[in-house]
């Protein structure tokens, strides 16, 4: 089965091309490009990526307007059918705003835009997206965000931890995130949101290839399915 991955572009997305390149390099198949105003995803898409950037200029709240755009209704419906959805950085914000993932991403605790390589731990290697990592593996991925401070109430945090839905955790204090959470899964495990950028770490020239494993895991899992 050929891999069919789609990348959504909103006005203000700026990591959509990097995401499409990452999907193509890993799967060998060009990614389908989908505009925010489209009402439908391409037929038989088996992977949807919501990329980073500053959709709608971060107006109102990061990801708030994008999460109400026509294509997101189709993405939410696809996620509910079990189609894997990956949200990176602004894409993670869009997924929390859309209700596909719990919690919210607030202004970084130190108020600074953080742009550096962040050490992370893989907390759950049993998901489609993380199966290629070792459980507890320490990796490094670039982060570049102003609003990555993950917030959820204590009950939600306990539930996420208890259900193994914390996928990645910062090894240092990055942005004030509750329990140093960098990425989370939905209950079904087919939606992953994370602030770090795996698509910026897929080639040696990027300074690291720890992000490539995420795409390889997903492609392998889907093509084998």
């Amino acid at each position: 089965m050929a891999f069919r991955g789609a990348v959504i572009t909103f006005p203000g997305s700026n990591c959509d091309r990097d995401m499409a390149v990452a999907l193509e390099k890993v799967s060998g198949v060009p990614a389908l490009r989908v505009w925010h105003g489209d009402a439908e995803l391409p037929d038989a898409v088996d992977f949807v990526a919501v990329p980073g950037g500053f959709s709608y200029g971060d107006y109102l709240r990061c990801g708030a307007i994008a999460s109400r755009s026509p294509i997101m209704r189709a993405v939410i419906a696809a996620a509910e059918r079990g189609v894997p959805v990956l949200g990176v950085c602004n894409g993670f914000q869009v997924l929390t705003e859309s209700g596909l993932l719990p919690g919210a991403l607030m202004r970084n605790a130190q108020l600074n835009f953080i742009c550096r390589t962040a050490p992370l731990r893989v907390e759950n290697n049993r998901s489609l997206f993380t199966a290629g990592y070792d459980q507890g593996q320490e990796i490094a991925l670039p982060v570049a965000h102003h609003d990555g401070n993950y917030f959820a109430d204590e009950d939600t945090l306990d539930r996420l931890e208890g259900e193994g839905r914390v996928a990645f955790r910062y090894l240092d204090t990055c942005n004030g995130s509750r329990r140093d959470i960098a990425g989370i899964l939905n209950a079904r495990g087919n939606v992953l949101g994370l602030m770090p950028h795996p698509e910026r770490a897929i080639e040696v020239d990027h300074g690291g290839t720890d992000g490539r494993v995420l795409f390889e895991s997903a492609v392998k899992g889907l093509v084998a399915a």
Binding site: A64, A104, M106, R107, A109, L111, A152, G176
Partner: protein, 79 residues
Amino acid sequence: MKVRIHVSLKPGVLDPQGRAVHHALEGLGFSGVEDVRVGRLIELEVADDTTDGQLEDMCRKLLANTVIENFRIETMETA
């Protein structure tokens, strides 16, 4: 009809911006400021027959993120 939507962070949600403003006020020599919370004011001009229910719906679906924010709807009498 003019409507004001006051959006504020829920109690217990840390407000880094409020803390920074607090520090800045202290830096300017204003003492006795106990706490600062930064919120958002959204002014709407809506049809006169807009119901409270519709306004609440707007707040829940878009204007506020109820995971972290509370909202208060203030309807202004049109002169």
